[in-house]
């Protein structure tokens, strides 16, 4: 059995009468990447705040490496780290001074060489003596990642690490995260609003909605649960005739381009819908069946509760 890095049991957070996190439980194993997803206000941030010890729990239990976080706070924090697009380092001091501070707090040995190694890894050695406040968003993200690796953590909590980055830097950041995971057997708790990123790096995904877990499993489990597919047909024939047939069978459709129709149907009715179009005398030139992606799962969950 894989080593358990984090175990969360019946975690609850109440702010007065408002329940921000409602009895959630989950685990992260060694080298596993868990995505924590949900619309704004779902309870992701509150959960991460409790996991890092900066917000007290109302009830429940958090254990890191088999030890109760409440009783072993600092020894747990020694083995994990955190990075977020929303928490920056101290702007008025240099990158190296910031990293020296955190290296000291984590009791890192050979601090200067460790910092030099990490700055080199993220291709920011030239920024060591720059004030943090003068860095671009992409450079800050890399410095934050370097900070989060100073103590060689076994688990990193990443709260939207690629928010506000341009696509190129975001892609590079994800590649670094993938490399880190592969090189170090690193476990990661990852939150993002970018579903493509989540599908790319997460082994398991938890959807939170109004503080509760509404769905959990591998990204493909979530998409498989959705009994809906999109069928894109390139056809030859009269558009109005096709429209009449689809409307008479109550099939949702649109025409993205001339000679192409996009149909929305249930997974088990895909063949039947295609057959219907063929039987109506249309020649099918090309067919593409598109399963729902995580983005659609996310939207469906978010909209279902409005």
């Amino acid at each position: 059995m894989s080593e358990l890095v984090l175990k969360v049991e019946n975690l609850v957070k109440d702010y007065g009468a408002y329940r921000a996190v409602d009895s959630i439980s989950f685990e992260i194993k060694k080298a596993e990447v868990l995505g924590l997803l949900g619309p704004n206000g779902a309870g992701k941030t509150t959960t991460i705040q409790m996991l890092t010890g900066i917000t007290n729990l109302t009830s429940g239990k958090i254990s890191y490496f088999g030890l109760d976080f409440n009783q072993h706070r600092r020894s747990s924090l020694q083995r994990i780290n955190f990075t977020s697009a929303y928490n920056t380092l101290l702007g008025r001091i240099t990158v190296k001074e910031n990293l020296l501070t955190f290296a000291g707090l984590y009791g890192v040995k050979n601090r200067l060489s460790k910092i030099a190694e990490l700055l080199e890894k993220f291709e920011i050695s030239h920024l060591a003596d720059q004030r943090y406040i003068n860095l671009s968003a992409g450079e800050r993200t890399r410095v934050n990642l370097a900070k989060s690796l100073l103590n060689d953590p076994e688990l990193i909590l990443m709260d939207e690490p690629t928010a506000s980055l341009d696509p190129d830097i975001a892609d590079k950041t994800l590649t670094w995260i993938e490399e880190l995971r592969a090189d170090r057997d690193l476990s990661i708790l990852f939150t993002s609003h970018n579903m493509a990123e989540v599908e790319r790096i997460c082994d398991k995904v938890i959807f939170l909605e109004k503080g509760k877990i509404v769905s959990q499993g591998a990204p493909s489990d979530h998409t498989n649960k959705m009994n809906r597919v999109e069928v894109l047909l390139s056809y030859k024939g009269n558009r109005e005739d096709l429209q009449k047939i689809l409307e008479s069978h109550k099939i949702a459709y649109d025409f993205p381009t001339d000679g192409t129709v996009r149909l929305e149907t249930k997974k088990d009715k895909t063949a039947g819908v295609i057959a219907l179009v063929v039987q109506a005398g249309f020649e099918i030139v090309d067919t593409e069946v598109k399963k729902p992606d995580l983005e659609q799962v996310f939207l469906e969950i978010a909209r279902s509760n409005k």
Binding site: K13, Y15, A20, T46, Q49, T52, G53, I54, T55, N56, H72, R73, R74, S75, L77, Q78, N81, F82, Y86, N87, T88, L89, L90, G91, R92, I93, T94, E97, L100, T101, F102, G104, L105, Y106, G107, R131, K147
Partner: protein, 268 residues
């Protein structure tokens, strides 16, 4: 594996060094803890020269100004230093590292003492050169005892103010600078307690710093030995207040983490 749950001098020292990095790179801090106190010393030096040439009062005033700076610089370091972290969204990063709140407070107190000692030496040299007032006239041991009690006084006020900032957020930021000046007249820093209205004298006597300023003035007017006994009782009162302040801070800090305010502080 090393035990990270126990108090760590190394983590305290790390924050002290961090404070030094911040101080050396911050024009605001330079102005707050060095430039304004220096201007204060010159201002009060000149005022005292104008209103009381040849009298002992101008020495009282300069003595009060110099000793008062111990209170402001230590309190500034305990309270305002945290505001820089909050405004930079870095406070939670620090507390996600394995540091305890006690280590964090001790580090800021220690950094405050180092800065105070350095700045006080410069201010004292300036008053000696420009106003012919030697702070060491109170006696080196007495000066150390006065400084110790004033520093403890500043620490417990700073800790309570920090607790309020943690609990209620940056909307309380103004108190981190402002509240301490309430104690300037209340502790009779620049004049004898007898100058205060009678009802204020009663309040004034509730603060340990009042006794320090009174004792310090005595050492200028009459030859005194080392004021151990007075120091001792003032110290006991200060420790009692500090313990009470620690309890208040603990409650405010807990409430801050219960309400989520501690984490929200960093999000502006």
């Amino acid at each position: 594996m090393k035990n990270t749950e126990t108090f760590s001098i190394s983590r305290v020292w790390t924050i002290v060094i961090h404070e030094i990095y911040v101080t050396k790179r911050s024009l605001e801090i330079f102005f707050d803890i060095f430039f304004f106190p220096l201007i204060n010393v010159f201002l009060f030096g000149l005022i005292s020269r104008f209103i009381s040439v040849g009298s002992a009062n101008n020495q009282y005033l300069l003595l009060g100004v110099l000793l008062w700076e111990i209170v402001t610089i230590v309190q500034y370091n305990v309270t305002v230093s945290t505001m820089w972290e909050v405004w930079s969204h870095n406070l939670t990063n620090i507390f996600i590292a394995p540091i305890s709140i006690v280590e964090y407070l001790v580090a800021h107190i220690a950094a405050g003492f180092i800065k105070t000692a350095t700045i006080l030496a410069i201010l004292a040299a300036a008053t000696s050169v420009f106003f012919n007032f030697n702070l060491l006239h109170v006696g080196i041991i007495n000066l150390i005892l006065f400084a110790a009690n004033l520093a403890i006084f500043a620490v417990w006020i700073g800790v309570i103010l920090l607790g309020f900032i943690f609990r209620f957020g940056t909307r309380m930021a103004a108190i981190s600078w402002g509240v301490i000046f309430l104690f300037q007249p209340l502790t009779a820093a620049f004049f004898p307690v007898s100058v205060l209205p009678h009802w204020l004298q009663t309040i004034s006597h509730a603060f340990p710093a009042t006794y320090v300023f009174e004792d310090a003035r005595k050492t200028l007017s009459v030859h005194h030995g080392i004021l151990f006994e007075s120091f001792f009782w003032t110290f006991i009162a200060n420790v009692a207040y500090a313990m009470l302040a620690a309890l208040v801070f603990k409650q405010l800090f807990k409430k801050s983490k219960d309400s989520g305010q501690f984490a929200r502080n960093d999000l502006g």
